[in-house]
């Protein structure tokens, strides 16, 4: 089932959305296959990165048919337990690990896990495709989603409060979000709600695609997920830090800091400082951070990382 969805997804992307203007950094090296790569890899973690991991695995397996990669994506918070207990070698996460998680890893292994930046995401705020709202400020988002309103905005409960008129004026805002295991949930909480609390009325969906589906079938809906999950039923709203004209969730705006909810996507690995890293893991990341790997990122709707960061990251893995 998942496979079918993924391949459908790829089809849709290659047909339509892949005409996106995003280009990978020309300085990124091409991937050069080496010999002797085989074995199993397990990945447990982020749902935001689920499709991307699947696509990378597919691309990687085209080069090394003897490699098997299992992918499970229930939320970023599932990655640290899996890495600690050794049930997975790769822990994709859409947020950085918390110190408590680092502590638990360190208590088990004696050293910290290695963080690898694999892509850039502009965490998008989606509304129903017919919704005329143009741009939102972080204060307005906080006023909608938060019960603590740490940014000091007013409470916003229907679309009229945001200046929409006509049939939209009295329409209540219906909030969608991710389950708390999700890194997207955590990132949104930290950056859009200034570490405040979500309202009890935010509908927690088990996956990014469920969020997008929910909004697409709910006229008053608004919710957040990684930009890679955008479909034709929803529209990503422009966001601004302090009000005024917002920034589109694009690669440039994510890199130059204009888009307020830009973030890295990570994969964590267990890399002992005393031992050489497993060849399979190393080659996987060399592939992910190569030109080919980052083209897959673009294909999936996320943004590629610059060559300088890719090199810096790869140097960590010896």
């Amino acid at each position: 089932m998942k496979k079918v969805i993924v391949s459908l997804y790829v089809m849709v992307l290659t047909l339509g959305l892949a005409s996106a203007q995003v280009k990978v950094d020309p300085d990124l090296p091409s991937y050069k296959p080496v010999s002797g790569v085989s074995g199993n890899l397990n990945s447990v973690g982020s749902d935001t990165l689920n499709n991307l991991m699947a696509l990378w695995a597919e691309g990687f397996r085209k080069i090394y048919p003897n490699v098997r990669i299992g992918i499970e994506g229930k939320g970023s918070s599932t990655a640290p337990p899996a890495l600690i207990e050794g049930t997975a070698q790769l822990g994709p996460m859409s947020r950085a690990m918390k110190s408590t998680e680092l502590d638990k890893f360190e208590a088990q292994h004696g050293y910290k896990p290695t963080e690898i930046k694999v892509a850039i995401d502009a965490l998008a705020v989606f509304v129903h495709k017919d919704n005329p709202i143009e741009s939102l400020s972080m204060k307005e988002i906080d006023g909608m989603f938060s019960s603590t309103r740490k940014l000091g905005g007013k409470e916003i409960t229907n679309w009229g409060d945001l200046g929409l008129t006509g049939q939209w004026a009295a329409l209540p805002i219906s909030l969608y979000g991710r389950n708390s295991a999700s890194g997207t949930y955590g990132f949104f909480k930290e950056n859009a709600l200034a570490k405040g609390d979500f309202r009890g009325t935010v509908k927690e969906q088990p996956g990014s695609s469920a969020v997008v589906q929910g909004i697409a079938s709910d006229l008053g809906g608004i919710g957040y997920s990684g930009i890679g999950y955008m479909t034709s039923g929803v529209r990503a709203v422009k966001l601004s830090k302090e009000g005024g004209e917002g920034a589109e969730p694009t690669s440039e705006n994510a890199l130059n800091g204009k888009y307020p909810l830009a973030r890295f996507l990570y994969v964590y690995v267990n890399d002992s400082p005393n031992e050489k890293i497993d060849l399979l893991v190393k080659e996987f990341f060399t592939f992910v951070l190569s030109k080919e790997g980052q083209e897959i990122v673009v294909k999936d709707g996320y943004f590629p990382i610059p060559a300088s960061i890719a090199k810096q990251t790869l140097d960590q893995l010896q």
Binding site: T78, K195, V202
Partner: protein
């Protein structure tokens, strides 16, 4: 003769094999039964073992003591592995004593301070930085960088001091008496109290800005420089700056604390806090942030200790500080304070008494009267060690084992005033993105959600299932029963994931736009059924006899379908007549979704209890139906035949004879249905938004205990607080079904006893 007798006897005696088999089976079944009970008990014990640690306090043991050179020490800090603590002397010197015997004390040279006279120094636990203020009004931020070195095979902790540049605080070069600073990502805020040659105190502030993007940090520049003295009533004594750089708290000489808010380059005096009201209140002795810097702890010299939190005051529309916590009082003014960097715990002490407390529940996790008076304290970064420095310059190292400080009875079942919230609440929000998040673990919204889902499911399922069972067993022709029952049983075997998926993506959007139609179904179908029944009974007997007993429903089916269609299309009409509200522009809109919140004040959500009740009803109906139907069919035919022979009608027989006799079985059917609804997971998980609300509004969602376990277990680290809390949720479910089942069994026995005579 004897032999014959014996043979005679043997003829009627059971064979040995039979007796043995009988004996064996007896024991075997008994053992099986005991095994079942044992297994259930073991599960119970396992769950109990998982949740018991949640209610345990902290365990603290002294590990060792190390003497350090005597001196006037200001602060005590520790690395994350608790191998190289340091003490900070009033003149700014740092000492890194080793905790193990034979490790030498490191005293790094502070070259960057060579030509400066240190007048104040503050240690920032979060950032592991020191900030020095000098007699000439300059400041410098120094990083204490600990690094773990694995080159020798085991971990060796190295320490290095990395000073930044000297910057001036204000233009006049006055001595800095107290200094505080916060290191938010882009701008660092430094606030200091300076004193000039004339003895006048000033409150000064400076910012250092650094551009930050995904590409990494850029250059540091001096941003603003401000003199805040004019805005502050009284003379400044002590300053605190929150980590995000937005809150500046200044204590003055009048026992007031001024709150300055710093946003977008503007400083504004927002509030003057008097933490201890009343003229006889003792003066404020200590103010400290708790981890996260959204709660500040004020303790006065009598030991009275209050927590103030920054939250939105809706009456004025501003974020202000307000009293949210009262802690058990100390015996006097606090002499030591240390906060945890993992949770809202803190260590506080007076004289020789110290206690470890947890702010969320205002509880004391541990307390002890020591043989010495501690002067400084530190809680390690991982919340696993405590260091105390006593007045004889001895360092005492303690191990701290407190895995679940945020748990406890109060955390689960009582109203708690969480940080940043305007009032005490029951709230479930277990995870945050950052370590300074305060977990909100109230079980109350989940219990309410469980009941809510169950009630709406049973409201829908019980009437349909019971009436269906009565009809099929008493009125319908027995020929149909062999079709109806298996069909219902197939319905029971529908996977609940499928039902949940249907509910979420197909039914919910339909119900949302057609609520009046669905309300009409509920009203119209019983009314039409009764009406057609009455009409049927008025028909001449000859007509009625044309239809054999138990086949009447075939005539009713078309009427039912017609009612259905009529209700579906009449719904929007009803909506246009009854559910009209006026929007702001004076326009009238007929929309139930807007009408419901406007009239009742409750929310209308697409994923709501109506949808869940409806679909969960589908899962419950077959169970109640089959068991109730069995119970009704098992009523001896002789009873109903006798009743009919005595001239009672079919309805009278069913209601007065069959139903009471089968009441015990019907009751079990409802209880088993209830059990299924309470434990149902996937439907609720998929069809509701999993919103942990505290209401019984039919048009809003819910989060049940079982769905909560399914949603959050994958992220819960084993043996962590959340993990055990989810087990507690399981335990509550267990308890709920246990109580319901026990009560049901007692009632069933009672009913059985009552109707045994019939």
């Amino acid at each position: 003769m004897m032999k014959r007798d014996k043979q005679w006897e043997n003829r009627f005696a059971a064979s040995k094999v039979t007796l043995m088999a009988d004996k064996f089976m007896n024991q075997f079944i008994r053992a099986g039964g005991l095994l079942v009970i044992l297994t259930v008990m073991l599960i119970f014990v396992f769950i109990l073992l998982e949740i018991l640690p949640l209610f345990r306090g902290a365990q603290i043991k002294e590990l060792r003591t190390a003497a350090i050179p005597p001196g006037d020490y200001l602060a005590l800090g520790v690395d994350e592995w608790t191998e190289r603590p340091f003490v900070l002397r009033r003149d700014g010197r740092l000492l890194f004593p080793g905790l193990d015997e034979g490790t030498e004390t490191l005293v790094p040279e502070l070259d960057f301070l060579r030509d400066h006279q240190v007048t104040s120094v503050t240690y920032g636990q979060e950032t592991q930085q020191l900030i020095y203020g000098t007699a000439l009004g300059e400041f410098v931020i120094v990083d204490i960088v600990y690094s773990a070195n694995f080159s020798t095979g085991s971990r060796v902790v190295d320490v290095e001091l990395r000073p930044g540049n000297m910057y001036p605080l204000g233009e006049r070069g006055e001595a800095i008496l107290a200094i505080a600073y916060a290191g938010a990502d882009r701008s660092k805020v430094i606030v200091g109290i300076t004193e000039g040659a004339d003895g006048e105190r000033h409150l000064r502030m400076a910012t250092l800005t650094q551009t930050m993007s995904l590409m990494g940090p850029g250059e540091i520049e001096v941003g603003l420089m401000m003199d805040l003295t004019a805005e502050l009533p009284g003379v400044p004594q002590e300053v605190l700056v929150s980590q995000n750089g937005r809150s500046i708290l200044v204590r003055n000489d009048r026992d007031e604390v001024a709150y300055f808010q710093f946003v977008a380059g503007e400083v504004e005096l927002r509030q003057l806090i008097r933490p201890f009201e009343g003229s006889d209140a003792a003066p404020l002795a200590k103010m400290n942030f708790l981890f996260g810097d959204t709660t500040v702890l004020f303790t006065n010299s009598d030991g009275v200790s209050y927590g103030f939190s920054l939250y939105m005051h809706d009456d004025v529309g501003k974020m202000l500080w307000g009293k949210t916590k009262e802690f058990p009082p100390l015996e006097g003014a606090p002499s030591v304070y240390a906060k945890s960097l993992r949770n809202k715990g803190f260590l506080i002490g007076h004289g020789n008494q110290v206690s470890l407390r947890y702010a969320t529940t205002a509880s004391v996790r541990w307390k002890k009267r020591l043989d010495y008076e501690p002067r400084l304290a530190a809680v390690s970064g991982k919340y696993d060690r405590i260091l105390l420095l006593d007045n004889q310059s001895n360092l005492h190292l303690f191990s701290l084992n407190d895995p679940h400080p945020e748990a406890g009875f109060a955390a689960y079942f009582s109203r708690i005033w969480y940080e940043g919230n305007p009032e005490p609440e029951y709230k479930w929000q277990s995870t945050g993105a950052s370590d300074d998040f305060e977990p909100k673990l109230s079980m109350i919204p989940l219990i309410v959600g469980t009941f809510k889902g169950t009630i709406y499911a049973l409201l829908f399922a019980v009437p349909i299932a019971l009436l269906g069972a009565i009809y099929v067993s008493q009125f319908q022709h027995p020929k149909f029963k062999s079709y109806v029952k298996p069909t219902m049983e197939i319905m029971a075997s529908l996977p609940s994931v499928v039902l949940g998926f249907l509910a979420a993506l197909w039914l919910a959007p339909i119900v949302e736009t057609r609520v009046p139609s669905f309300l009409l179904f509920v009203i119209a179908i019983p009314v039409v059924a009764m009406f057609s029944g009455a009409l049927w009974s008025r028909l001449p007997k000859r007509t009625r006899l044309l239809c054999p007993d138990g086949f009447e429903f075939i005539g009713f089916l078309p009427i039912l379908v017609l009612t259905w269609i009529a209700a579906w299309y009449l719904g929007p009409v009803i909506e246009r007549i009854f559910f009209v509200i006026e929007t702001d522009a004076g326009r009238k809109v007929a929309d139930f979704r807007l009408w419901w919140p406007a009239v009742t004040g409750n929310r209308f959500e697409q994923r709501n209890a109506l949808v869940v009740g409806f679909i969960m009803g589908f899962a419950v109906i077959p169970i109640i139906f089959t068991i109730a139907e069995d119970a009704l069919s098992n009523v001896p035919r002789s009873l109903s035949s006798a009743s009919l022979a005595l001239g009672a009608s079919r309805w009278q027989t069913a209601l007065r004879v069959v139903l009471p006799t089968a009441s015990a079985g019907i009751f079990s059917a409802i209880m088993i249905g209830l059990g299924r609804a309470v434990g149902e997971t996937m439907i609720v998980l998929m069809a509701t938004g999993n919103t942990p609300l505290l209401d019984l509004n039919i048009f809003s969602g819910m989060r049940t205990l079982s769905a909560n376990i399914a949603v959050e277990l994958p992220e819960a680290p084993k043996e962590g607080t959340l993990y055990r809390t989810l087990f507690l949720g399981g335990f509550l479910l267990f308890l709920m079904t246990f109580i319901v089942n026990t009560m049901a069994e007692l009632l069933r026995q009672h009913l059985r006893g009552k109707y045994k005579t019939i």
